[in-house]
């Protein structure tokens, strides 16, 4: 269902590549919540998608354990093959797929907000949207 929503958002926003970027960010964030926030006790994940003419905001909220976002493998450069680890890779994918990412701990909840600015997008093509590095 999430993929269908992302596909529709890509189509409506006229933004090539938006679907795989949203899906990749969603998958990695969800994995992190399951593996870290809810590592001990399972819980619910709230997914919010806000779309307007300027940006798409994907927000994921959980009530699990908090984490140090800045120390959790955040980096601007792709990790080298010999140092590539799954943990750091997930956040790198989120950061690369989206325009900005912020993390907040509020009222015992984790809020991960991932934003894609639509002005960075390319126009959709009739073929697959995959492979356009601009969006």
């Amino acid at each position: 269902m999430v993929r269908a929503v992302c596909l529709r958002v890509e189509r409506d926003a006229g933004c090539a590549g938006l679907e795989w970027r949203l899906m990749s960010a969603y998958n990695e964030a969800f994995n992190n919540i399951v593996e870290h926030a809810y590592a001990v006790d399972p819980g619910e994940v709230e997914v919010v998608l806000l779309v307007d003419d300027e940006e798409v905001v994907l927000r994921m909220i959980d009530q699990g354990a908090g984490f140090d976002f800045e120390d959790a493998g955040a980096r601007d450069e792709a990790p080298a093959l010999d140092t590539l680890s799954e943990g750091g890779m997930g956040l790198f994918i989120i950061r690369s797929a989206m325009s900005s990412v912020t993390y907040e701990r509020r009222q015992d909840k984790n809020l991960l907000t991932m934003t894609k600015t639509l002005s960075e997008c390319a126009a959709p093509t009739s073929a697959s949207s995959h492979g356009d590095p601009r969006c």
Binding site: G17, W20, M23, S24, N27, E28, N31, V34, E35, A78, P79, A80, L81, D82, L84, S85, E86, M89, G90, F92, I93, S96, A97, S128, H130, G131, P133
Partner: protein, 112 residues
């Protein structure tokens, strides 16, 4: 069990992943396959993934793990059939420059 096909051609193992998703749900089973391949020592493997439509960091990690572990044993891995979202993720992580990637398994087998 992870849907896959394992064949051997001219001494090279060809692992064709036949799942659409190589992600946190399917990787535990893929990890078992990787362990079986690594137990065989320094073999050559073509990892064919044209059926894979979506990959996440755990899926990438399993490919990188196979590549690094077989290389340490004197073996080698070539990756084939990377397209769509997996191709974008590989490019994002610059794995398209770090791993030997071929359009098809047949091309990966040439001169391997």
């Amino acid at each position: 069990m992870l849907k896959h096909e394992l064949t051997e051609q001219a001494g090279v193992v060809v692992l064709r992943v036949q799942e659409e998703n190589l992600d946190a749900l399917t990787v535990p089973e893929a990890r078992l396959l990787v362990e079986q391949l690594v137990e065989r020592g320094g073999i050559k493997v073509v990892f064919e993934m044209s059926a894979v439509k979506v990959i996440d960091s755990s899926g990438v990690a399993i490919i990188v793990s196979l590549f690094k572990r077989l290389r340490a044993l004197g073996g080698a891995v070539r990756v084939a059939g990377v397209a769509g979202q997996p191709k974008d993720i590989f490019a994002m992580l610059r794995l398209d420059q770090a791993l030997p990637i071929f359009p098809t398994a047949e091309e990966a087998l040439k001169g391997f």
